[in-house]
Symmetry: C2
Subunit: 101 residues, 2 copies
């Protein structure tokens, strides 16, 4: 049973398009550096619906060890250091994903 870690961010007044671009660049590097990431999808909210958060990340890993490897990886920590100062709110969940056949 694989695990999908999902994190949603709502930006505060400090967030600028340039800062969010730097976050996207930092996240885009992670799949190449963290082999435990089986799938990695992230990006800004598409602006289709009202009341949504501003940014979402979905990280699929094989198991809890993979989740830990992702969480603690220095490149992920570096991305979090860019994200944290811009956070007004954060929501997260970890759910089971059927294994890919």
């Amino acid at each position: 049973m694989a695990i999908r870690h999902i994190a949603l961010f709502r930006w505060n007044g400090e967030a600028t398009p340039e800062k969010v671009d730097r976050i996207r660049d930092a996240l885009a590097r992670l799949p190449g550096r963290i082999p435990e990431l089986r799938a990695y999808t992230f990006g800004p909210d598409l602006g289709i619906s009202e009341g949504t958060y501003d940014f979402g990340v979905a990280a699929d890993v094989d198991d809890e060890a993979g989740l830990e490897a992702y969480r603690d990886h220095p490149d992920h920590q570096a991305a979090l250091a860019l994200i944290r100062p811009l956070l007004a709110d954060r929501a997260s969940v970890q759910i089971a994903v059927p294994d890919r056949g």
Copy 2:
């Protein structure tokens, strides 16, 4: 460019394991009934991390029309009717997903 709709729920005091099971059963029927759903992953939080929401849903569709078909489908509306009375909090986002090759 496909779309991933993500919704996180935090339950209120009305939620019981039986009610949440009914919600899981209702959601489990949706992929068979809503052809626009390309992938559908949902379930309770796995209890690995602190501060997470209680339940997550990730719905992948091809485009905005697919998202609308999912949102408005009577079987999805019926599931929402089970979910809404149990909600203490809800967080959602819609992000772009690279098309499956």
